[in-house]
């Protein structure tokens, strides 16, 4: 390992713009000598890079809890997201309460409404021959869809997206006042929406959350707001990044695009490889609860640990030639882009559905496209990894 690799291992920072642009190159150079990295930024944190370490910690709530936050740096959300930031035993009761809204069957019922949203967006720019696919497609679709799922006024989609984006930007530069402003706006919104459903029940997920009671675990109003927060926050930004990555990968592999046109069934495999290759949620954090040793590193109570799902998905012990985008890859072992274990993404089937429908409808209107001549792709420097913009051009018939 060269000096640069050594330095990266000793002071890792996924939010550093230089590191973020080539994060998998950096990790490949340090992985063998230093499977558990350390970062001094953001209050100090460990970062697990191996598939085995990431997955065993993900399900080990006795040593690694989600209760004290799941991001590095702290995003500054107003309250704890539920069920993500709860542990056993109550965790499974909260999760069970929400899960029926996100099963494959429930998501299948949203197929038509999602497709309508996507077609409306693609129609808006398909005749133009040039578009920023993040701003015009990948950004709006998940926000509008999650508004539909929750039962929110879809016209509000850009409002809550701006709050979460603002919180993330402020957390990265340590702007506490700005972070608190966005956080307070989000909290007021969640409270107002849940309380309104209590007074005027509707047929939507927010009403189910507002009226939820459980025999097995306490359901306070803060728990209810935390559930609404989880669906809203986890449900849009991550999919924005996943869509941006997929549209990028389809752009960069014209041969694959042609194959998908011939064999639409291949799209499912392209989606899984896109999720593995550039995982939209690069990692989520845990907090150490009692002394534990991982790869010869002694971790102390209170230490933050970043479980790098993206790094696990590039672990050569699990995925041969991990830096090659290969849609024919054997799908066992599966990637962990949606996490692993009890906190695995509750919305994974919804996310896959959005990825598939966007790819289908976009390729139907724009079968061939390429990066605009003067455009460059820069990745977001956050735990949610996707292109900031995807400025592409195509021939208009």
């Amino acid at each position: 390992v060269d000096d640069a690799g050594e330095t990266a291992a000793l002071d890792f920072d996924h939010t550093d713009p230089v590191c973020a642009q080539d994060i998998y190159g950096q990790l490949a150079s340090v992985r063998e000598i230093c499977p558990v990295l350390h970062g001094s930024k953001h209050g100090g944190f460990w970062a697990f890079s191996r598939f085995a370490d990431v997955t065993s910690a993900a399900n080990d709530h006795e040593h690694f809890t989600t209760r004290a936050g799941v991001t590095v740096p702290a995003l500054g959300l107003p309250i704890g997201s539920v069920p993500l930031m709860t542990d056993p035993p109550e965790h499974k009761f909260y999760r069970r309460a929400l899960q029926s809204f996100f099963t494959p069957a429930a998501v299948a019922r949203l197929e038509g409404p999602i497709r309508d949203v996507v077609i409306e967006r693609v129609d808006g720019f398909a005749d133009r021959g040039r578009a920023d696919l993040v701003a015009e497609l990948a950004g709006p679709v998940p926000c509008i869809v999650i508004a539909l799922v929750l039962g929110l006024d879809r016209a509000l989609w850009s409002t809550f997206m701006d709050w979460v984006d603002g919180m993330e930007a402020a957390s990265h530069v340590g702007d506490t006042a700005s972070r608190q402003h966005y956080s307070a706006s989000l909290y007021e919104f969640l409270v107002e929406q849940v309380e309104r459903r209590k007074a005027e029940p509707r047929d939507d997920l927010l009403t189910a959350i507002a009226s939820l009671t459980l025999d097995e675990a306490p359901v306070t109003d803060v728990i209810r707001y935390g559930m609404a927060q989880l669906i809203l926050v986890a449900g849009h930004d991550t999919t924005v990044a996943g869509l941006g990555n997929l549209l990028r990968h389809l752009m960069e592999h014209p041969g694959l695009r042609a194959q998908v046109r011939e064999d639409p069934g291949l799209l499912a495999r392209v989606i899984e490889e896109s999720l593995r290759f550039e995982s939209p949620v690069f990692g989520l954090a845990r907090t150490v609860t009692c002394p534990v040793t991982v790869q010869d590193r002694d971790l102390a109570p209170g230490d933050k640990v970043l479980l790098m799902f993206g790094a696990a998905n590039h672990d050569p012990f699990r995925f041969p030639d991990p830096e090659v985008f290969d849609a024919e890859r054997d799908d066992r072992p599966p990637h962990v882009a949606f996490g692993f274990g009890r906190h695995r993404c509750i919305g994974e089937h919804l996310a896959r559905s959005e990825l598939r429908i966007v790819a289908e409808e976009f390729l139907r209107r724009v079968p061939d496209y390429r990066l605009a001549p003067d455009a460059v792709i820069t990745m977001r420097t956050a735990l949610v990894r996707g292109p900031r913009s995807l400025d592409v051009v195509w021939e208009v018939a």
């Binding site: 080990d60 099963t103 072992p333 599966p334 274990g341 009890r342 695995r344 994974e348």
Partner: protein, 74 residues
């Protein structure tokens, strides 16, 4: 059709729980367990998919004898 999870084989990927939460749940150790051993007819396809998707092959199906009336099974 009956279903069970071999706790010695399960590693806690949670794909079954994600696919069919009505049937599979993770216990406090993160290992999958079944909430209902007898699979209702409307969930047979979903449970079969969970069997196919399990990365460790931990889910065991015990199909009813051919021709048996499911209503009489068990």
């Amino acid at each position: 059709m009956r279903v069970r999870v071999d706790p010695e084989v399960c590693q806690g990927y949670a794909q079954c729980n994600s696919l069919v939460p009505e049937v599979f749940e993770l216990d406090d150790d993160g290992i999958s367990s079944v909430l209902i051993g007898e699979v209702p007819p409307d969930l047979v396809d979903a449970v079969t998919e969970a069997v196919d998707c399990c990365p460790t092959g931990a889910i065991v199906l015990e199909r009813d004898p051919a021709g048996a009336d499911p209503a009489d099974a068990g």
